[in-house]
């Protein structure tokens, strides 16, 4: 009890200094907190925008917060949402292990959580975990990468942040395909922590040590953008770059003949589904779905890039 009281007071304090609440209109159905990583990455912004739009349509007030991939900050944001009496939390979390306690705390306070994009390592705590089928998507990306490489050559892999399950699963999906081709040789594998800046820096260094590379496969689009910028700066636009996410930036690069391919995660729709399931759960007591749900990804290349907009593919 002492613990939860302390957290409650911490939440009150945090709420007092966070002017991020956006009550658009006095909604009768209550507040939904939408917590994601930084909106600097357009993927997470699309999630927040998609979730907020659907929540407002369904008659909720929204509280949009970012944890910047910091589990401590995420924990404070949960306290804040609990203190504000949120009816539900839609979350793209800050770590598969570290998030379990925060989601449990919300559950203990009677607030259901609906996770998107990233899983946590426990089930039975969140009501829904709706994630992209990263393994299926990574296999699509790897198949295209192998095809573009002509099934042979030296390549580099930039992986995401290690605490994030998606970094491991995408790498695993890539290698389950690429490693079947004996003439594909990985000369460097480094984490660039999902970051464009780090992608640029890592690529610059790797390129100096391995000028004979033919391709770079990246765990997300921001790292792909960083890697591509470094390759362009070095005059190496012959290098094949493949990303993952389906961002507008990479779409534009594909259309301009830069990056060759990416894999679309339906982030916008995924966030909307989370809000819809939250609404159904709050209204009826059940989402009617399994807790953990996978959504398939789609390969994006020169053939369909023009149809891509804000993490959704038009018909």
């Amino acid at each position: 009890m002492k613990l939860s009281r302390r957290h409650f007071m911490a939440g009150v304090a945090v709420t007092a200094i966070l002017p991020v609440a956006r009550p658009v209109f006095a909604a009768e159905k209550g507040l939904i907190a939408i917590i994601t990583p930084s909106h600097d990455n357009p993927f997470f912004k699309a999630e927040a925008v998609g979730a907020e739009a659907r929540a407002l349509e369904l008659g909720y007030e929204t509280l949009v917060l970012v944890h910047d991939d910091d589990p401590n900050k995420q924990s404070e944001l949960f306290d804040s949402a609990i203190a504000r009496g949120a009816k539900a939390i839609v979350l793209d979390n800050a770590g598969a292990d570290a998030t379990v306690a925060a989601v449990q705390r919300a559950k203990d306070a009677g607030i259901p959580s609906f996770l998107i994009d990233r899983e946590i390592k426990e089930s039975g705590i969140a009501v829904s975990q709706i994630v992209s089928n990263n393994y299926q998507g990574a296999q699509l990306g790897a198949e295209e990468f192998v095809r573009l490489m002509g099934e042979a050559g030296n390549y580099v892999e930039l992986v995401g942040r290690e605490a994030d399950t998606n970094a491991g699963i995408r790498s695993s999906g890539y290698h389950d395909i690429i490693d079947q081709y004996p003439d594909m040789t990985m000369v460097a594998q480094q984490s660039a922590n999902w970051s464009q800046t780090e992608g640029y820096e890592k690529m610059e260094t790797i390129l100096q040590a391995n000028p004979d590379i033919k391709g770079v496969i990246c765990g997300n689009d921001t790292m792909a953008m960083g890697a591509w910028a470094a390759l362009e700066a070095a005059g190496r636009t012959d290098v094949i770059v493949v990303g993952f996410d389906g961002s507008n930036d990479v779409r534009d690069s594909i259309l301009a003949g830069g990056i060759k391919a990416t894999v679309l995660q339906p982030a916008y729709r995924q966030a909307q589904i989370a809000v819809e399931q939250a609404d159904q759960y709050l209204t009826t007591g059940s989402t009617g779905q399994d807790e953990k749900q996978l959504m398939d990804c789609v390969l994006i290349n020169g053939d369909n890039a023009a149809k891509l907009e804000t993490f959704a593919l038009s018909a």
Binding site: A96, S123, Y135, S172
Partner: protein, 215 residues
């Protein structure tokens, strides 16, 4: 006969370490798989796949398998969702594609057995054109076998990595379960039973066979 025993031998070898493992006290495969602490996801899921293959996976396929010729007709005339509702298997949730268990027989019109992703293209309606691709592996695309099993629920697994390794282990068992005869395959008749995923009506059918007989 020798050809028949090779996959069996491989399979037994794969299962031997598990059979000799003293940690596996309980007959419940889920518990057994999770109790093998300290091993990799891949090893645990391979062990689990081995335990469920004969007792659960093959019976589900046998129970739900429909003739591929009729199924293709139904998909063409009534649509994928109608055919899926009647014969398909899929996990709940938006955007999950239908999986089908099917049997069929046809003539091999193309065989690529040199590739790691070996496949046979089979004509099942005697028009000379391929109607179905049989994925022989060892590289088998997709997660059809896993996703077609109603008892394999994503929520029961730790994360996507573990769940993906399970799909890979089931694909490996499918690969181990089939043997090809020596010699030219094109022009010969092949009978098969297996599973495929269909995302859109009109997509190519890439079936993962669990039974294959070349005449």
């Amino acid at each position: 006969m020798r050809d028949l025993f090779t996959p069996l031998a491989i399979l037994s070898c794969a299962l031997l370490p598990l059979a000799g493992c003293k940690i596996v006290k309980t007959p419940d495969p889920q518990a057994a798989a999770t109790e093998v602490a300290g091993t990799t996801d891949e090893a645990r899921m391979a062990a689990y796949a081995g335990e469920i293959w004969d007792s659960k996976v093959l019976p589900v396929i046998a129970e739900h398998a429909v003739p591929l010729t009729g199924l293709r007709g139904k998909i063409a005339s009534e649509g994928l969702d109608a055919a899926g509702a009647a014969h398909g298997l899929r996990p709940v949730g938006e955007a999950n594609p239908w999986n089908f268990a099917a049997t069929g027989e046809g003539v091999i019109v193309e065989a690529n057995t040199a590739s790691r992703a070996a496949k046979l293209l089979v004509d099942i309606d005697a028009d000379g054109a391929a109607d179905v691709t049989l994925q022989l592996g060892p590289v088998i695309r997709g997660t059809s076998l896993r996703d077609a099993m109603p008892f394999l629920i994503f929520t029961d697994f730790r994360d996507q990595i573990e769940f993906a390794k399970l799909a890979g282990a089931l694909n490996a068992l499918a690969h181990a379960a089939i043997t090809l005869p020596e010699g030219e395959l094109v022009g010969r008749t092949v009978g098969f039973e297996g599973v495929f995923t269909l995302r859109n009506k009109g997509d190519a059918i890439e079936l993962v066979p669990t039974r294959l007989t070349v005449q």
